[in-house]
Symmetry: C2
Subunit: 391 residues, 2 copies
């Protein structure tokens, strides 16, 4: 039995390969109507922050993995003490949970990163701005996702709400920040890339082709697999970096490495910089469900069970995935019929989640040979499902 902490759409999408492989899943769900709880028979309800509930859940499972990276360190410690077999391990997971720890470790490994600094006081911010200039990027080390906990800082005023109220002293530049934050240069990137790899406890690893992720307002909206116009050298270097991170950090399961692609520039000789890490199936790999021999969800299951990994090769020259975000259009069923009728080749995935503006409620992918056509079809289907177009 594979236990998954968290009942979101990532846990839900593990169910199809689990059925095929004959693997039983159990999910610790936020509620009875959580996305994964609707489709997995064993779905006890409990909070991922409740040590007792999580430990009881984990002890009924052979291995435990995660739908998200929000399980607190003290809960992970309690599981480790109880001898629970976790994938990824807490020692690896910390680098996906804590962005300061991640930057420090990747820098020690000489993996290309944006220039960065840890800031505990306004003076730290001022000093870093003196090096990279404003605007710069500030991130809370923990808890952010989909653009939350990340902001562009054009001046100290933009951090006002992160300063400690009682000691705020912007004029001296010495006020402490409420918590340490991560500062990064604003990278003048051309595109965003993601490299998905999987690694098993035995050390076997596999990589999918590098993909391009198209972001809108900090949320990934489209993924193109493989990334267009990428030289073989850059693809190999980016893949090598991701595999090296997986190995050095001891990641087990799927690792997503989000990257910036930067053009010819003396400051960025590698052509890419690592942006974020996620140690679980990731939105940038949803294309692989219908577009690869082995999907990220099947591979994650194989990896956490230490089974031999599957072939990650694509089944078509191109696959494009478009996210469906909740819109102002709550009646999704007529749109769903329309999309199926208009495009019999569109693979529609709905997550069984209530539609709320901006929430990821599903995705569509299309595979084939004509990239421009695929991009139009995927975007049309997603826009139609989210009510942006109704023609």
């Amino acid at each position: 039995m594979v236990g998954v902490i968290g009942g979101g759409q990532l846990a839900r999408m593990l169910q199809a390969p689990a059925v095929a492989l004959g693997v039983q899943l159990s999910v610790l769900a936020e509620s009875e109507d959580a996305s994964a709880a609707l489709v997995i028979p064993s779905a006890p309800v409990g909070a991922h922050t409740d040590t007792t509930a999580v430990r009881r859940f984990a002890q009924a499972c052979d291995v435990v993995t995660f739908d998200h990276e929000h399980v607190p360190a003290d809960v992970l410690d309690a599981l480790a003490e109880a001898g629970v077999d976790m994938h990824p391990s807490p020692a690896a997971l910390v680098f996906a949970q804590d962005k300061l720890a991640m930057r420090a470790r990747l820098t020690a490994l000489a993996i290309p990163c944006p220039r960065w600094a840890a800031a505990h006081t306004v003076l730290d911010v001022v000093n870093f701005a003196a090096v990279v200039g404003f605007p710069l990027i500030a991130k809370t080390p923990r808890g952010g996702y989909d653009g939350k906990g990340v902001r562009v800082v054009r001046g100290i005023d933009d951090l006002a709400d992160w300063l400690v109220e009682s000691e705020r002293d912007r004029h001296t530049g010495s006020g402490p920040l409420r918590d340490g934050i991560l500062l990064e240069e604003l990278v003048p990137f051309d595109h965003e890339l993601a490299v998905l790899v999987a690694r098993s406890p035995s050390g076997q690893a596999a990589a999918w082709p590098v993909v391009e992720t198209v972001q809108t307002d900090g949320i990934c909206t489209d993924v193109i697999a493989p990334a267009p116009d990428l030289t073989a050298e850059l693809a190999a270097a980016a893949t090598h970096a991701a595999l090296r991170i997986a190995g050095e950090l001891g990641v087990t399961g799927v690792l997503a490495v989000e990257m910036f692609r930067v053009g010819e520039h003396p400051a960025y000789p590698d052509g890419f910089l690592v942006n974020e890490l996620a140690m679980r199936p990731h939105n940038s790999g949803h294309w692989s469900i219908d577009g690869a021999v082995t999907s990220q969800f099947e591979q994650h299951l194989r990896a956490v069970l230490d089974l031999p990994l599957g072939d990650p090769r694509p089944v078509a020259p191109w696959t494009v995935m478009a996210n469906v975000l909740g819109g102002d259009y709550p009646q999704i069923y007529p749109a769903y019929r329309h999309v199926m009728a208009r495009d019999p080749g569109a693979k529609v995935h709905m997550y069984g989640k209530g539609v709320r503006p901006g929430r990821k409620v599903g995705h569509v992918s299309v595979s084939g040979e004509d990239l421009a056509d695929l991009r139009e079809r995927a975007r049309h289907a997603a826009d139609y499902l989210q009510g942006i177009i109704t023609e």
Copy 2:
């Protein structure tokens, strides 16, 4: 909610596309550990022969479909009376349940069939044998599957156990048979083919490529998609026949038409003869899970919900599917690891069923360009999983 009567592997394999499409399934299962009940949250236990249980189950569902064709006519009648929306309808399903009704109807539609007769007495058998000669084929009209209820008859003695005991009089040749049986000529076929189509209540239909099914002792062991060495004319004629059967019989959902392929012969001008019908996802279509844009399981769900049908095109030049039958090798896990390690491209499907000799417990499929290689790989994986080879 789509209700499925019967909790076997066909119901189980509906779950993956149901998760993707956001469709909730409920399965009326034979037991709590039935193949489908292990992976579908809503799985009440009840017998398909129990009118009260089936009616209660069906009334909680929007539409009802079937894992097998064994639901008795009186149960179907009770559901129809209660206004249950069934796909296929009982009026169509009878032609998959009753082989005599099927032969009469197909003959009326001028669909190529083997020569056949209904036999109620030994005299009927003798008369038919006088036309087609011995050996001939005898089938019980209802309840057979995987070669059960079918036998080769070399003489009247081979039917001894089907004669009414008290009135048996083999010497006069006039004894009555216990029930009416179907007699068919033994067709000198080259290969067996299957044509899978799907049809929705709105009348939309879609066909997958014609496949070749390789049978061993009356059980399908391998499927090759598409069927090799088939002329475009024969493929088109076979597909046309299957689509015509679906339309004329008013089938909704997936229809599998099993056929004999016969060589150049004046008695068989069409080159094929229809053998059997199944109105549900079928073993000959398992290749489509990994080998087609839309699998038979997704298409069946779309059809029974009257959603637009998906693209049935293959994703690779060839896909080969091999069934895993239960063998004398109860420890399947080491074999499962071996198969994954030897062939990362093999798609392994296990049904969560106890291993008993001859029982279908899983299948493996492989897709690619080199048919001979794919056949070897699929067969090796299946033979290994069933303990026939252990190298």
